[in-house]
Amino acid sequence: MAFVDVAGVTALAVTAMNLPDGRVVVENPPPQLPRVLEMFWSGLDRIEVAL
């Protein structure tokens, strides 16, 4: 995937926040993902970004 917009990051963040336990690991995400996560979900530890 080369690009993700705010709606795409939102879907991922909200899914991760609603997990009963555990976390989402995203490997080699498009560069927009960490930028948007930091902008709107700073400190969300339910998502691990693996570069």
């Binding site: 690009f3 705010v6 926040m17």
Partner: protein, 311 residues
């Protein structure tokens, strides 16, 4: 300085008109000491030199106050409400919070000013009914008389340099939002791309290519792509299904403009922070967050959104 006129109101939003550094320091420090006495969480977002005046005036009492350089945090006036003001107030939901916000300083450009005035007006809508006090200093010597006159329209009360507070008879914040909803004439030398729903990836690539051609580099290219994606997607979903992107450079800034047939009916669109679990409501806010300036014109004939990034 004590707020004798408006302390019974939930939201208190006076303008302070100062003429000297001494007046500035005396009135802002008195405002903050009143907050210290009341035990209120406090933030100060003003241009750097004025931050130093306030810190020096407060001495050791400055420790628990959040200080932000407004020329950085509020470079784009459109992000001051969600990021600076709501950011601080929402983090302190119990009891009254007290903020000094100085979004308009001598040196704001003519292109920036309409967005600054609209920001000051929209504070009244954003904090209606909330236990928040925001004092907005205005440099009566360095700013144009028109700016001072507008401040009397965007603030329900005004405080003079000697601390006298009075009700502003001119207060009518919606009038300022409307007055600065100014038509944005097309740039004659812009590179343009008309798009529909099937063209969203192509219009992003066009924006990136034009931004690079005009000298944009590094991480801000990603911000260009993100902001263009949000605005062009809005055109497709809410703005009649299609639009036109124009890209050009002026005064050392990259300018990207999206025109479509939609109409923005919510004056606080892009300035109302969503709950963390909310699915929508971040697109226009992202444009405000990454840009140095956003200008908007909306009406029956459609909407134009321009965002500016320094090259």
């Amino acid at each position: 300085m004590t707020s004798t006129v408006t302390t019974h109101e939930a939201f208190v939003h006076p303008a302070l008109f100062y003429r000297t550094e001494q007046e500035y320091t005396r009135q802002t420090v008195a405002f903050l000491r009143e907050g210290l006495t009341n035990g209120e969480p406090m933030a100060v977002a003003v241009p750097g030199p004025n931050l130093e005046l306030i810190k020096a005036g407060l001495g050791g009492d400055a420790e628990d106050i959040l200080f932000l350089d407004m020329t950085e945090a509020g470079r784009n006036p459109g992000r001051i409400i969600p990021k600076v003001l709501r950011g601080f107030a929402d983090a302190h939901p119990k009891g009254r919070v007290r903020i000094i916000g100085e979004p308009i300083w001598a040196g704001r450009s003519a292109v920036e000013y309409p967005a600054c005035a609209q920001h000051e007006a929209l504070i009244n809508a954003a904090f209606e009914g909330r236990a928040v006090t925001i004092l907005c200093p205005y440099d009566e010597v360095g700013l144009d008389p028109e700016v001072i006159a507008d401040a009397k329209v965007t603030h329900p009360t005004v405080i003079s340099g000697d601390g006298r507070e009075s009700v502003s008879d001119a207060y009518d914040w919606q009038a300022v939002v409307d007055r600065y909803n100014q038509v944005l004439a097309p740039a004659p030398d812009a590179a343009a791309f008309s798009y529909g729903g099937e063209d969203l990836p192509a219009v992003r690539q066009f924006a990136l290519a034009q931004a690079m051609r005009l000298g944009m580099a590094g991480e801000r290219l990603m911000d260009v792509e993100l902001a263009v994606a949000e605005l062009t997607t809005n055109s497709v979903v809410h703005g009649g299904g299609r639009g036109t992107l124009a890209v050009w450079a002026e005064q050392g800034q990259l300018v990207c403009e999206v025109r479509d047939a939609g109409r923005l009916t919510d004056p606080l669109a892009g300035r109302r922070p969503p709950e963390r679990g909310q699915l929508g409501g971040r697109g226009l806010m992202l444009v405000h967050y990454v840009s140095d300036l956003v200008r908007v014109h909306t009406g029956d004939d459609g909407t134009t959104v321009r965002f500016y990034l320094s090259l």
